[in-house]
Symmetry: C2
Subunit: 218 residues, 2 copies
DNA sequence: AATCAATGTTGACGCGAGCAACATTAGATT
DNA sequence: AATCTAATGTTGCTCGCGTCAACATTGATT
């Protein structure tokens, strides 16, 4: 029997886990700071000792999501034999994550367009970049093996990411009208189609884009 | 001088316009039914005579968005000479819409996964389908002209949609780190890459997917 | 033992969603 | 024309949520 202490052993993590679970159940819109506190068995204001605000907690949830996504992709792509196979599995892992935790993905990508105030958002970008690097490394490996032509790997990676992200988002929204298995199969086919086009000729980013660079959006 | 009548001439449209404007300014999260009413110069409860709830109004905003997207795509693709050019312009129009009205796009795609209760969501799907049909028709035209190989046009259209939707969403989120012009240029390149792959061999949907069909998600 | 900073609690304020009851007006019926 | 009715707009509430302020408890440091 766990003793109920005034000072919680590790409230921050408890809150984070509760938040992740709640997001999975009700989505970001119905997500409530007070409900998280309730589930953690603390008062409605306790979370403020660990998170600045509701949005801050959601940011932490997003970071956790990027971590899980990265791990899942790395695990998913493991059984691939050829670089191109591994690249495909990487994308399928991404889509599978999205289907499995659609609300979590939404928190990761569709919350606060982040005007790139380099505060917390920096580590946000950093962790998100980890997931991207998995894909980028797959691209580079495929280039080394000759499965993909040499050239700017960044442009290829962004293109592949776009395709896979689009499939993920549309699948979540029910726009593809496919069940989970069929969606993964569709991802395979789409990826093969894209790689076919990549093999034809190199694709380059417009010269104005050097990454990493300061964003000049809007 | 417009006379202030108790009964508003066309409150529903006034509210819708105000809602669209508010969404554009503050996004779906800060969007408030009461603020819409305020801007329309009406009491906080008047909207309920025209919309069931806040979500219902947002659904109407989404529908309006799909209408605008469809019109913009049709207008954008007009100057294209060859079917493949028109296809590309279609995708670029999609991305341009997304960059221009990111919040509106979010309302259109990232609100309430809609468990397909065939009430309002039916017309939602219908209007969204109109935008999709523009793309689908481009694909079919490209197939007729021989620019794309014969085969299931639906699979090709869904693949192209995924790529373009992914670019749009990632661009909005700042993940591509490109400004508007560079993003459009990137879209062009990505589209060409994909079409190159499509031209290689036909891509098919898995047999379990016949559209239109009842969705079997989850 | 005494103190302090960290951590959790209680209570309050303001705001928005939505419900109910009331007010006003446009049209249809007579 | 006078009246009735349904549609439409308003006022006033309740409830929950985010957040701030003030207070309480506790583990660590001196």
């Amino acid at each position: 029997m766990p003793v109920k202490t005034y000072h919680h052993p590790d409230l921050r993590n408890t809150l984070l886990e509760a938040a992740v679970a709640l997001i999975g159940e009700v989505g970001p819109r119905a997500f409530t700071l007070r409900e998280v506190a309730r589930r953690a068995g603390v008062s409605h204001n306790a979370p403020y000792r660990h998170f600045d605000s509701r949005d801050d907690l959601l940011t932490a949830v997003a970071l956790e999501g990027f971590d899980r996504l990265t791990r899942l992709m790395q695990k998913t792509l493991a059984p691939g034999k050829t670089p191109i196979e591994r690249l495909e599995l990487c994308g399928c892992g991404y889509v599978d994550f999205a289907i499995g935790w659609p609300n979590h993905l939404q928190v990761m990508f569709d919350l606060a367009p982040a005007p790139h105030t380099h505060g917390q958002s920096q580590s946000h970008d950093h962790v998100g970049e980890n997931a991207f690097l998995v894909l980028l490394n797959c691209i580079k490996a495929a280039q080394s093996s000759g499965d993909l032509p040499a050239g700017d790997p960044m442009a290829l990676a962004l293109t592949a990411w776009s395709l896979v992200h689009g499939i993920a988002k549309l699948a979540i929204g029910g726009n593809l009208q496919l069940d989970r298995k069929a969606t993964i199969a569709f991802t395979h086919k789409a990826a093969q189609t894209l790689y076919g086009g990549m093999a034809k000729k190199t694709t380059r980013l417009p010269s104005s884009a050097q990454r990493p660079a300061s964003p000049k959006r809007k």
